[in-house]
């Protein structure tokens, strides 16, 4: 089961986790019986495991901690039970599908509401909405749900054709039905996690804001993850009711959501199989501890203590810990891109760059843009035009309004007045995602990377935005299978000289390498214009020279607007320079013209204009 985490992308390894799961599921009942486990317990563990696949995609992979999953577990379960009891269908399979759809629909509604806030608010909101479902269940919807009594007498249904069928009411028979759904759920969850969709989910966990500025509509991705989790909860809840023949209101308890969270953390979040392992521990320990004389009454407290210890000291949980050990022993060979591609990718041409004609087509235009913060005017009616292919530097003393101006161009702050156009289209007040999707991309002054992902996977997030657009819910195709994306990644890495470091986690890079990766991320979105915020900040002189060379080679195909303090960099790179001072534009011209401009000198040196 450990292998599940280390998704080997080679042709032989691809089905290994599923194969291991099949063997484990076949052996589990007998192995579990050896330590005193019953079929009833085994069924419960797998149901919690299915419930957990969805939750792990939501929390472990997307980073959204929900305390309201009971709502979907309960809703799915009650819908399925109700359909069967009321006689709308005799087919447990159809009831289960409808119950799951119902849970997914509710997931879409509650998700849309809860995702209006993030972080702790999201956790509080999901918890609150989860409780709402409990109250709905026990009171207003009593006639459907049986209120505090729950729904008993879910009819014994069998699945199968002719003489080949399984009775759903014996735990032993039920085990195989649950196991097949578990396997399906595992396969699907692994597909989702390894798809480009899954890669974007991971990037949201690592740095959601950055994913947004690379052109991903992260709200949609989050909502999709939420609905997936609700669907898995619906399947789990439906099976719960079917296997017990009874759907209890406890399914809606906060304790249900809490147990799921605790199991996932204990087993290891972000491993898919972690919640199942957590469920095994919870359910087995509960039974085992309850038989002990002193510990018996406090079994849940003991589990609570274990949980707090794991959160505090061992945050990766059991499966995460095992995976870590495995990685250390076997070495990091997982998820490596095909080596051939790295070599084959043609680096962006490094021929000496010809200056772009300065009377070419205007690609980026700002008309009288102004930003006011209360009484302070940070940027005052600045207009400028950038011609396709040029390198434009934006300079000015501290407090001149460069960064504000720059952020308005990138769409991270809205202007108070004025208009902006990119390739002739109006981009005033467009979201940073939309601006990025149009090909105007910003690279940050402070490194904004996905620290837990490898260099290769960092760039992959940008490449996905380029190739698939702002939202692409293709969940079944392995992200590594797209030649187009792989080539784009390889080219971008080659352009910023990071091909050698493709497998290193971003957090382990040296400072200069991080800066280059930052530029590489922007490049991989294939921008037509690149906004660079102090690309050489904090670099040593030799790193600076490298960066100037790098930017020159990149500029062959891209228009660049650069904010920079270092005058050597500015005059070594720029075709034209725009000077801001006190929020106004005071000059605009070639480096030579700027050097000769008296007003610019005055602005920098502070002496009056008289020579």
């Amino acid at each position: 089961m450990i292998v599940a985490k280390l998704s080997t992308r080679g042709p032989f390894g691809r089905w290994l986790p599923e194969a291991v799961a099949v063997v484990a599921l076949l052996l589990f009942p007998s192995a579990f019986a050896l330590i005193g486990g019953t079929a009833d317990m085994a069924d419960r563990i797998l149901i919690w495991g299915i419930f957990g696949f969805g939750f792990d995609i939501l929390f472990g992979f997307t980073g959204l901690l929900s305390f309201g999953q009971a709502a979907f577990f309960g809703s799915g379960g009650f819908m399925t039970a109700y359909l069967l009891i009321a006689g709308y269908t005799q087919n447990a399979g159809i009831a289960l599908i409808l119950g799951t759809l119902f849970a997914s629909l509710l997931g879409a509604i509650i998700g849309a509401l809860s995702l209006r806030r993030s972080g702790i608010y999201f956790a509080m909101l999901t918890l609150a909405f989860g409780e709402m479902f409990y109250f709905l269940d026990i009171s207003p919807l009593k006639q459907f749900t049986g209120g505090e009594n729950g729904l008993s007498g879910v009819p014994a249904t069998h699945i199968g054709i002719g003489n080949w069928f399984v009775e759903l009411h014996t735990p032993e028979g039920m085990y195989w039905v649950i196991a097949i759904l578990f396997l399906l759920g595992f396969w699907l969850a692994r597909r989702i996690v390894n798809s480009s969709f899954g890669a974007v989910l991971l990037s949201i966990r690592e740095n959601g804001e950055r994913a947004r500025t690379l052109g991903h509509d992260i709200q949609k991705y989050k909502l999709a993850a939420f609905v997936i989790a609700a669907a898995y909860a619906g399947v789990g809840g439906s099976l719960f009711g079917l296997f017990q023949g009874y759907m209890p209101p406890d399914a809606f308890y906060l304790d249900t959501s809490g147990q799921l969270v605790v199991q996932t953390i204990m087993g290891g979040a972000g491993t898919l199989i972690g919640p199942t392992v957590g469920a095994l521990i919870w359910i087995y320990l509960r039974t085992a501890l309850q038989q002990l004389p002193i510990v018996g009454p406090v079994w849940k407290m003991v589990l609570g203590i274990i949980f707090v210890l794991i959160v505090t000291l061992f945050r990766r949980g059991i499966c995460g810990g095992i995976a870590l050990l495995w990685e250390r022993m076997v070495g990091k060979q997982a998820a490596q891109p095909p080596a051939a591609q790295v070599v084959a990718a043609t680096p962006v041409e490094s021929a000496p760059r010809k200056r772009a004609p300065l009377d070419g087509k205007v690609i980026l235009e700002a008309k009288d843009i102004t930003k006011r913060y209360g009484g302070l005017t940070a940027v005052d009616r600045v207009s400028f035009e950038v011609v396709e292919g040029e390198i434009r530097a934006l300079i000015g003393p501290n407090g001149a309004g460069k960064t504000t101006f720059f952020n308005m161009l990138a769409g991270t702050i809205p202007p108070t007045s004025g208009e902006m156009f990119f390739r002739g289209e109006r981009i005033t007040n467009a979201s940073s995602t939309a601006i990025c999707q149009r090909g105007l991309v910003k690279s940050f002054q402070i490194n904004q990377l996905f620290p837990g992902l490898t260099v290769w996977d960092n760039v992959r997030i940008a490449a996905i935005a380029r190739v698939y657009g702002k939202f692409h819910p293709s969940m079944l195709r392995d992200a590594a299978d797209s030649e187009e994306i792989n080539t784009l990644i390889a080219q971008s890495l080659a352009a910023v000289h990071l091909s050698e470091r493709a497998h290193a986690p971003a957090r382990e890079l040296a400072y200069g390498e991080k800066r280059r990766l930052e530029i590489g991320l922007a490049l991989a979105t294939r921008p037509s214009a690149l906004l660079l915020d102090e690309p050489t900040a904090g670099m040593s002189p030799s790193e600076r020279q490298d960066t100037i060379r790098l930017l020159k080679s990149i500029a062959a195909g891209v228009t660049i607007v650069i904010v920079e303090h270092d005058m050597d960099v500015v005059f070594g790179l720029a075709d034209r320079i725009t000077v801001l001072f006190n929020g106004r534009k005071i000059a605009d011209g070639t480096p030579d013209a700027i050097k000769a401009n008296a007003e610019v000198r005055a602005a920098y040196l502070g002496n009056p204009v008289q020579q």
Binding site: G63, A123, K142, K300, G304, V308
Partner: protein, 290 residues
């Protein structure tokens, strides 16, 4: 229209709301200053009620019970902040939520193991027995007194928050935590004090509310959920948000109960959903804080 019933329900809403204000206030102050949302806050409230119950059985004095509940939770809060929470200030919010949630489980199950799951009662104090004639309504004396006690406590909290150096730091922390750290203020001690005070508010509320509700190990979970709703409606980290949000929540629950009892709790969440759609940062929340 039954005016007496309406008045009674308005007052019930007020009492319920006042207690929610007290619990939510502790939660919001701790979050504002420390950036930690305490999922064990409901359990703190419950432990307060049990501490009061034990003290009352030993002394038969309600005042001592209240003091015991508050002091016990001050100590619990301080111990937990020193022993656990302080290691979490630099960790992700998710971890803070998880550890406080786990803490809540331990406290609830610990109390359940010690006192059993059956409900206990803390009697209404002598000076709160019977009903008072308000002219338009006979209303239980103790509940009127609760309103007074909560109001007085809130005045004290307000003075602490808005008239003392500690309060200034707490409010500054709500605005910009990083800046407060940079200014070289001894945040370690401030955090300890704030966590202790926030916990104390929960414990205090637990004892005050104990004669109105039954004392059971699970009594905190509903209060926790409701105070989350209060915070979402009012806006996190805001004194006035907690106050207004709490009163609104109390009135929604009790007025709906009069019209359509089955929906009284559900309406509260519906109100939260409406606030989320129209004003996601909450009534008194500042836009941009997460």
């Amino acid at each position: 229209m039954n005016w007496t019933l309406l008045w009674a329900q308005l007052f019930n809403g007020l009492t319920l709301g006042a207690l929610l204000v007290l619990v939510a206030m502790g939660l919001t102050i701790i979050f504002g200053a420390l950036g930690v949302i305490n999922f064990a806050h409901g359990a703190f409230y419950m432990v307060g009620a049990y501490a009061g119950y034990v003290a009352y059985n030993a002394t038969h004095s309600f005042v001592i019970a209240v003091a015991a509940g508050a002091v016990a939770l001050l100590l619990v809060g301080v111990a937990i902040e020193r022993g656990l929470i302080r290691y979490y200030y630099r960790r992700p919010h998710e971890d803070q939520i998880l550890v406080t949630f786990g803490l809540g489980i331990i406290l609830v199950e610990g109390v359940r193991a010690w006192f059993g799951g059956i409900s206990q009662r803390l009697p209404v104090p002598k000076w709160g027995e019977g009903a008072t004639n308000l002219g338009f309504l006979y209303y239980p004396t103790y509940r009127i007194e609760v309103l007074g006690i909560v109001a007085a406590t809130l005045v004290v909290l307000y003075v602490v928050l808005y008239r003392t150096r500690l309060g200034l730091i707490v409010r500054a922390g709500i605005e910009d935590q990083l800046m407060v750290n940079i200014l070289g203020i001894n945040v370690t001690r401030t955090f300890l004090v704030v966590f202790g005070l926030g916990s104390m508010a929960a414990g205090f509320a637990g004892v005050i509310n104990a004669p109105i509700v039954t004392v059971v190990p699970d009594m905190g979970s509903l209060v926790l959920v409701q105070s989350f709703v209060v915070i979402v409606i009012g806006g996190v980290g805001s004194f006035w948000g907690a106050l207004v949000g709490g009163l609104i929540a109390g009135e929604i629950i009790s007025l709906t109960a009069m019209v359509q009892p089955a929906y009284s709790e559900v309406m509260l969440f519906a109100a939260m959903a409406i606030v989320l759609i129209l004003r996601p940062q909450g009534l008194f929340g500042v836009q941009g804080r997460q």
